[in-house]
Each structure stands twice: as C-alpha cells, then as structure tokens.
C-alpha cells in the first residue's frame, strides 16, 4: 500500500465517513461560513480522499479555517459529513510529531485578558496533539 493510500484509509477510519456516498451536490460548500478562506473547499475534501491525494490535504490551510460548526454535517443529504473528513485530516497532521498548528511560544502574543478558558482549551484540542 502506498503511503497516500494508507493515509486515505486512515482518514476514512478516523472519520468513520464513506466518501463514496457523496453525490457531489456541493451543499457543504454552499453552507460553509469559512468557504472563502479555504484553499481546498469542503466538497473537494471528499474527492481528494477518494482520489487519495492526501499530501495536498495535509498541507491545506483549510484544516485551520474549518470552524467545526457542523453546518455541512447537519445539511449533507448523503450523510457524508465533510466536516468529519476535515477533522480527520487535521488529526493526521497534529498526531504526527511537530504537526501542531499552535505552539505554546506564540501564546503570549495571542492572549488578551478577555479570552475565556474555553477558547484556549478548544484551540489546544483542535490544533495540537
């Protein structure tokens, strides 16, 4: 098995999503509030996984723009749940050593006194191992 194929399988396993159920309607991308920030759009995530082009996915900035707002998951008519695929790709990155998107060093400058703990906890969960 090639590395890419293995990673694609990993993404499918972590997400529990079967990308082949997608009918390419684009409702995920139509619903996404971060659409304009993403280089690989939510609906494209699905075909990237099908085509096993994981290299592009793990380097995509979309991973860090997804809000996990579940709009795509709620509305997907095919039960594909692109948001789960995106999170699985993110997991693939942060679970690897050095894959963290957030380092403790940069925290100081990001902090402001109003920030709720919840924000830090959430960001650490999503961005770091």
């Amino acid at each position: 098995m090639t590395a890419q194929k293995k990673q694609a399988e990993q993404i499918k396993e972590i997400s529990g999503v079967n990308p082949l159920k997608c009918m390419k309607c684009g409702k995920c991308s139509a619903s996404c509030p971060s659409y304009n920030e993403m280089d690989i759009k939510p609906h494209q995530f699905v075909s990237y996984v099908i085509n096993e082009d994981i290299e592009a996915l793990v380097h995509s900035k979309s991973l860090w723009k997804c809000l996990s707002c579940f709009a795509c998951i709620e509305r997907c008519p095919r039960d594909v749940k692109p948001g789960k695929l995106i999170d699985a790709a993110r997991q693939l990155v942060v679970r690897k050593k050095g894959g963290d998107y957030l380092s403790p060093d940069e925290m100081a400058q990001l902090l402001d006194p109003e920030i709720p703990q919840q924000l830090l906890v959430s960001a650490f969960r999503r961005y770091r191992r």
């Binding site: 684009g26 991308s29 139509a30 619903s31 304009n36």
Partner: protein, 662 residues
Amino acid sequence: MQRVGVFVCHCGSNIAATVDVKKVAEMALMEPGVVHAEDYQYMCSEAGQARIQEAIREKQLTGIVVCSCSPRMHETTFRTAAQRAGLNPYMVEIANIREHCSWIHKDMEEATKKAVLLMRAAVAKVNLNTPLRPGESRVTKRALVIGGGIAGIQTALDIADAGYEVDIVEKTPSIGGRMSQLDKTFPTLDCSACILTPKMVEANAHERITIYTYSEVEKVTGFVGDFTVDIRKKARSVDMNKCTGCGVCQEKCPSKKTPSEFNRGLSTRSAIYTPFAQAIPNVPVIDREHCIKFQTGKCGVCAKVCQAGAIDYEQKDEIITQKYGAIVVATGFDMIRLDDYDEYAYSQSKDVVTSLELERIMNAAGPTKGHLERLSDGKAPKEIVFIQCVGSRCADNRGKSYCSKICCMYTAKHAMLIRDKYPDVNVTVFYIDVRTPGKNFDEFYRRAVEEYGVNYIKGQVGKVIPQPDGRLLVQGVDLIDNRQILKEADMVVLAAAIEPDPDVRKIATMLTASIDTNNFLTEAHAKLRPVESPTAGIFLSGVCQGPKDIPETVSQAGAAAVKAIGLLAKDKLLTNPCTAHSDELLCNGCSQCANVCPYGAISYEDRQVNDHGIREVRRIAVVNDALCQGCGACTVTCPSGAMDLQGFSNRQILAEVDALCR
C-alpha cells in the same frame, strides 16, 4: 416409487460459470428415484423443453426436477411443457440454482456443493408429490379503479371502451387529481386543464363508468376474479340528483376561511365547495368540520338559497358493496412536507414556495389569478431562484432515497414560462444534475438555457436567508466556477420530492399487495411485469408504482387496463390446487383451523368415517377449495396433525429439510 428426471440448466454462463452443471447431473443419478439426468444450455428454450418432453415420454417419468433459475421466473414454463408431454404439471419441482446459488457465490466448488444440495432437496420433495388438479372459479366482469387522477381516468376509459363495467373510487370531491392542479405541461406546454377536462368529461359520460367521488375503499375480501369491496360514500350533504351545480350556495356560504386544498392552502374556500371550476361531478360537498351549521347548529344559508332543494344536512355515509374481477390501484402522489428543511426558510417566508404552489400561482384560477407575484406583499418579483432536489436523492433520514424524476423538467418549464411572460425577471436554477431522459426532453431544457436565458448553476443551496427588507438572500455554491454565491432573490421555488399518497399503505394492506420501503407498490417483476402486483388480480397505474410524468403515467395506465381486460375477458380462472385438506381419521373437529383461516374457507360437517373398522359419525373440518388460498395457517394450528397442504405437505417439507441437512 417415482421415476424422476433431473434437468440441469446452464443458463448460458449464468449458472455454468460458477456451478459444475455436469457434476450436479451426475450426482442426481445417485438420488433415490432418479432414472434420468441431463444438463443443457438453455432448458427454457424450445429445444430445452423438447428434451424434457422427450425424456418424460421415453423414460416414463412420473416427476421432474429442473435445476435452473427461480421458480418465480420459469415454473409455469416447465409445468406447461411437462403437461404437454402428459405429465401432471404439479409433478414438477424447481431447484433454484441461479438466484440462490450461482449469482451470489463465487467459488465453484462451494457453489456446486450447494447446487447439489438444492437439487437433492427438490428430488426429495418431488418423490412425495402427487398429481394435483386445479379447480375453476368464475370471473366477475367488472373492474374497480382506486384513484381518480389522470392514471385512474385513463385506465377506466380503456377498460370501459373494451366493454367492461368500471367503477372509479376517488377520495376527494372531484376526479382530476394532481394534473388538474397543474397550469401547463411539459414538454409541449399544453394547458393542463385543456387536455385533462375532456378526459374527465368522457369518463363521466361513459355508460360503463360509475364514479364514486368523496368515497373511499373500506374493505376488500375475495381473490382474483372475485373480489368483494365495500366502498364508503362519505356524506356529501348535497343530493347529487337534485343539485344543478349553479354555485349559489358557495357564493352565499358565510364560512369562507378554510384553506383551499386545491390551491395548496394559498387561498381560502367556503365550507360548501367544489374544489375547482371544472370539477366532476359539479356537485359541491359540505366540509362538516368547517360548516357553521354542523358546528353550531345555526346557519343553514345554503339550504335557504338552494333553488333545487339539494342540501341535505341529514345525509349519512353510505356503504356500497360491489363485486369485481380486477382492481387497479391509481392512488398517485403528494409532495413531501418541508418541515425538516428549514434551512430553505420555507416556514419562515411566504415567498419561499414549492413547485406545486408556483403551479397554482401561475394558474389563472389560482390565488393570484395567474399573476406572478410575491405572496408576502403582492409585488412582482424581479429575481427568482429555483432549488432542485429538495428531499430527493437523500441518504439521510430527512428525505427520500430516490430521484423524483419530474422536477428537472417542470423546473425548466417554470423557468421558461416565467421568462416568456415576464422577460425582465431573472431566473436562476441551482441544480445537482439535470436529468432529461425522454422524447424531446433535453431539447426542451436546452431551449430554457439557450433561448430563454435561464441561468443554470451547478451546485446546491445551503441556506436561504430572509433579509430585513423582505428579500431573500440565497447562499449557494457554483461548483464549476468553484465559488460561493450570495444571491438576492424575491422568490425562491423548491422542487420538493414527491411521495406516494399516504393512504396507499392502508389500501395495499387491504389488497394484500406488496409495498416497498418508500411506500411505492411493488410490481410482480421489475422489468417484465411492471403493471401487475404480485397479488393476482391487482394492477398498478401511475405514480403509486414509482415516480413518473404524465406521458409515462398515461401509457402505464393503458398497460394496466390491458392487463385487467385480459383477466376480465376470461369466463373462468383455474384456481391454485395447492389447498389445504383434512384427514378425516385424524381430525377431531376442534375448530381451531377455522379460527385462523383468513378466508373463511373451513367449515365442519358430520360425516360417517371408518376408523380401522369402527364406523361412526364424527365432526370433521372441510375445506372449500374455491376459497382456500393455500397459506397453510391451519396446518400448523391443527393439534392433531390432520390438516395438511397439498403441494407443500408436511412430509414434503420435512424431506427437503432432511435433504438439506444431510
């Protein structure tokens, strides 16, 4: 001892590619009673049947086993062939080694092993078969059509024209169905009413058609050729014979706030009403739930103004019992409810409508007199967005798994009609796929794009966002340009999925007709018997069988009629000889069998029996062969084991079990 012949079919490579057919034939020769075994390319072919007949004659076979496809496919073929060679047709058994073996297994050794087992079971069974003779039953030369839409009307007309009596039962006050609600029809843009009304009139005037509107089927008993049906004629509160259809009562009725079913709730109607101007019969009904007289006892305006004295507040529901030889189901469809699709703001904005509602808005008899306007403020829209596949092709539990089939075409029609009549209105269609497989269909859709400038965008809409100024912001995606779109619109039209009329489940249960998970009626064979239900004597017409447009519905309606006519043309039908019978020496007359028989086919009589020399009169169960349908419920209930089923006897099934577990 039987002399059994075994015939193993290759079915081209369908069976032979996975089952070693020669081996099966070889093994058959080792089974008790088998005196002949052979394999052949296509047993169902002329030549194949000839081989069977030759073997029957030459080897004096008393029973045969054909190892081939499902008995549901070719049992009749092989029975007829055997009969022509002088063998009783019920001495034929089929071992299903295609659907139940070769098609589902890949490993040749495994599949062959299973095929041999299935052959053995069939041989074991045929060894215990006895010749059976079917009885005869009469055919009532009258058909019932359930549903008075275009499907039901067409079926009724075709059957009546062939010379048979037909009754149409329609639950609403008028025949006409969904088609009467449509404004124009694709792909030729005929006015729907203009082509439907003549058919309605013809059905009404036909000497052999009786129409029961505002009526429902309540009970069905009997079987093919001889159904007995109770029809409930709901109290109309208006005497059909006296009413002249002048319409004064509707005008004067003070209760005018009831949402009009015909206009999909977009306008109101009076409590006494005919659903639409061309209604047939042109006799109103009183909707008792909304009638002031019925609710408070005080009113009676309609009775006062009726010159003909047709109003009858005392009228009661009436049950009509009628016998029929054939029943055609034509119960049609409705659109799904959109309660679960609030992202499209259907319940939040009056300007988000379904396609059927738009149909009414575009119609001259509709809530806006045919003017295209926003229902919220009556203003003329400048920008209209259509959203396709709302609730169709869904794998979640909100929508339907199937394609509703008609939406692509009616949306192209709507878009075209709007652009034609209001050239300054921009029309955008968000679609996933445009599906136009029909004569002149794709050309029609292309005209919408090329001649009428309808803007088709490939991509779905995520959310419709009502704006403070009353406009609608449509957030969608263009998958070709790969960009998210925010489009302001004045109206949004949703192509909601269609689903079978909710009452069809009740009707299917009464008819014991099978129904699938989407509530569409199942056909006897998906390809070869598409208008027949697996239940004999029940035929399917229109959308109750699956989504279809008007031309398709009309052709299927005709096909259903032909099948019904073919049945009605017969004077007698051969009955299924696989009926129950009781062994008079074992029966103790306990009545348990009669309690479980769904057909009332079992009665009891005192009969003189000779039980090993002891002569006495005993109470014994007797089965009426004409009524027994052969389900076998009685055989299992019988505590003494006296009741058995011909063709599926205890010994036969036990022999099959033994053979399979050997």
